[in-house]
Symmetry: C2
Subunit: 151 residues, 2 copies
Amino acid sequence: MKLLIRDREILSSALNKGGYRPTPQREHIYLIILNKRDHPTADEIYVRCKKEMQGISLATVYNCLEMFVECGLVKQVNFEREPSRYCPNLMEHAHFHCKNTGKVFDIDLPNEYFNEIKKLLPNSFNTDIVEINFRGICKTEMDETSQLVNE
Amino acid sequence: MKLLIRDREILSSALNKGGYRPTPQREHIYLIILNKRDHPTADEIYVRCKKEMQGISLATVYNCLEMFVECGLVKQVNFEREPSRYCPNLMEHAHFHCKNTGKVFDIDLPNEYFNEIKKLLPNSFNTDIVEINFRGICKTEMDETSQLVNE
DNA sequence: GTAATAATTAGAATCATTCTATGAAACTTT
DNA sequence: AAAGTTTCATAGAATGATTCTAATTATTAC
């Protein structure tokens, strides 16, 4: 399992922009996040990383994730006060969180939707981020790594 | 500072429905939440409670808040992994969270909005809750206890 | 009024996350 | 390519919100 040249370039240019360097650990963690887009927690990422890089520490995983979020490489996704999850989908999108399975799905809403909703805010507010989370039940055997698109 | 008869009735009927009893602590915590609707944390509620009920414990505050949420008396509101906040506004509404002041504002979106957005979900999903959070900057001296209504 | 049940309390435990100190690796400047 | 400086990775301790535990107190049912 290796990073594509293209992804390695995305990673190193984003890191450089933030004043950081690519390292083996950072590349590996990034690979893991790109590889299975099921919104893993820091701990899940740590476990997956260890399979191919036994010496990696949980602290490094946390450090890298924070750095990736700062550099705009991944999004941090939170539900209630559960452990944070990480998502490499950089498009503006919503999430569905299943209360039975715990699975998380990306939901692509039409782009106008996010713009419209921002316009509804009284102009005493200045928003950059709108977060939309659905909570409910997903109908069985869905694969949370497949991205759901509305027409 | 005392609960209105009407509010006491709302409280005790909701508690009874859940199999719980009203107690002095529960009434007092409920009063505190109704009284200043600025989305306080459990700890802030605890501090406010102690002013008139010195012996109350933080554990009781947590217990009651969980119970109130279960009974549908208040909503639990979370931003990122910050401490949970509590909100007695039971209408379906959004929140604005100011990243400068930390203040939280209720945002009433037109009701159709919530319905429309639920319709956009692929029908392999069954949602009961849609959470919409704005994050940004609020223009100065706004009072977070005033509810913001869109026409 | 006594037994049974429910509520409150203080303090310990938990768990995700952050911090700290240390040592290793990688650039700079010669 | 060595010496000095900075950045990184690591283990383990610390933090802080929340939950749990065990003991005490209050309330209800008989």
